[in-house]
């Protein structure tokens, strides 16, 4: 019950931002960041303990010393003199990530995407599939138009101008759809929080509504007294 009440209080502190940025909101924000970092630190330490330190100490798997030493080099970030040492682990991490990413990226986000875009039409495909005739035509027009929009080396006039306009419309429709989905997502999050405040567990609403009014009143009073002092 205490946890639920605290969660409700923090939710309301965050929503006090609707009025304006204030100390209650900032407190909740700092607690959230602190908790997230602490949780990350604990769970990372546990993973390192289970995966590297335990085999090293109990099974004598000494090769775990090397990655742990490389990991410790991250702390040279705090040294002005030996900052260059920090570049060794960071370059290892970035290099590995980029290398692994590129290997899969070429297929999943480049060749496979091109293959889907230029796929022959298939009237028997489902109406929502990319190779259904009308979809394939729309995709082809949209992709070619959008590519033309980004040709800046030649002045956009004549047929190029029309193609570029098609590209602009295609992008506007895509951005509009993305924005619509974003609004839907934000509504979902708000509804989720409202459900939590009003339904779970029964009775929290009786607590949360007066607390909301109190927080809002405290924030307004604090802001007004600050403004009066300035005046």
């Amino acid at each position: 019950m205490l946890g639920t009440l605290m969660a409700a209080a923090f939710t309301l502190m965050v929503y006090s931002f609707f009025y304006k940025e204030n100390k209650a909101y900032r407190f909740a924000e700092h607690v959230f960041i602190g908790l997230a970092v602490a949780h990350g630190a604990v769970i990372s330490s546990k993973y390192m303990w289970d995966t590297a330190l335990t085999p090293l100490l109990t099974k004598g798997e000494t090769y775990w010393i090397l990655p742990m030493l490389v990991g410790l080099l991250f702390f040279f970030f705090f040294s002005k003199k030996y900052f260059w040492v920090y570049r060794i682990p960071i370059s290892t991490v970035v290099g590995t990530g980029v290398g692994l990413g590129m290997a899969g990226l070429m297929r999943s986000q480049f060749t496979d995407q091109i293959r889907q875009t230029i796929a022959l039409t298939n009237p028997k495909a489902a109406w929502y599939a990319g190779d259904y005739p009308i979809n394939a035509v729309l995709i082809a027009i949209g992709v070619i138009g959008t590519l033309f929009f980004f040709i800046f080396t030649t002045e956009q006039k004549g047929p190029l101008r029309y193609a570029s306009h098609i590209g602009r419309w295609t992008m506007m429709i895509a951005f509009g759809a993305a924005f619509g989905f974003t609004v839907m997502a934000r509504m979902s999050l708000l509804i989720g929080r409202m459900q939590f405040l009003l339904d779970y567990p029964a009775g929290v609403a009786w607590y949360s509504i007066p607390v909301a009014i109190l927080i809002l009143a405290a924030v307004v009073l604090m802001e007004r007294s600050k403004a009066a002092k300035k005046a």
């Binding site: 990350g40 899969g104 297929r107 999943s108 979902s188």
Partner: protein, 243 residues
């Protein structure tokens, strides 16, 4: 009912008892209202099909949702008599995309212990699961990075594992380009999860999303009305002055 949700449902529906599915928690508490209902429904569907479930998470603060879903759907997690036989929770794997690669290459070495500290060798169902090739289905419940593109790069492209995803509505347009060729099915936001719950009703699954969807539909209606009013006002101001 959107074709993406139907496809998501159909992919899980085709699983046979004993098929191994990996479900990854790639979201945090901020996306919980949208993503957790999809997580719960998916676990319920996988359990109804008799699939073996391997839970994992690439977001440190998302992993507890796996434990919670097991508790709410199956009644218990690590204390369940079938834990380690029919389902496991491997917990958090660090390093995002690099971690996904490592998990795909060698599951046992990447997760030496499960979420509760049990050595992976003590979990009977994990004895035959060595790499990404041993999974029939990959499900990522994702809301950012690492998420869908990373899984596609490191698992779908490498091992050809059938991949489905539940994403937040914000991410949905970006993921739709992969459907249906690379991603076989998608749950898009709260609406998609509500549709999925309806499809699972025949298994006796009791969803929780009917009231939120009513609120969502009403709020959308309100937004549409405001957009129309705004445009009417704009048109009146623009063309009214001319006259």
């Amino acid at each position: 009912m959107s074709p993406m949700t139907i496809a998501y449902h159909d992919v899980v529906e085709k699983l046979k008892p004993g098929d191994v599915a990996i479900i990854s928690m790639d979201y945090g508490p901020a996306s919980m209202p949208e993503q957790y209902p999809a997580t719960k429904a998916t676990v319920a569907h996988l359990a109804a099909k008799g699939a073996k479930i391997v839970g994992v998470g690439f977001w440190a603060d998302g992993v507890p949702f796996m434990d919670r879903a097991f508790k709410e759907i199956l009644g218990a997690s690590k204390d369940h008599p079938k834990y380690g036989i029919d389902f496991v929770n491997l917990g958090w794997v660090p390093n995002g995309e690099v971690g996904m690669t490592a998990l795909g290459k060698d599951v046992q070495a990447t997760c030496s212990k499960d979420y509760y500290g049990t050595p992976i060798g003590a979990l009977s169902m994990m004895k035959d699961i060595k790499s990404g090739k041993d999974f029939k289905l990959l499900i990522t419940i994702a809301s950012g990075t690492p998420g869908v593109p990373e899984w596609l790069r490191q698992w779908q492209a490498q091992f050809g594992v059938t991949t489905i995803t539940a994403v937040t509505a914000v991410s949905a347009p970006g993921v739709r380009v992969y459907f249906p060729a690379q991603i076989a099915g998608t749950i898009e936001g709260l609406a998609g999860a509500a549709e999925y719950e309806v499809l699972l009703a025949r298994y006796g699954y009791k969803g929780t999303l009917a009231p939120p969807m009513d609120a969502q539909s009403l709020s959308h209606l309100m937004v549409i009305i405001f957009i129309v009013l705004g445009n009417v006002g704009f048109a009146l101001r623009k063309y009214g002055k001319g006259k």
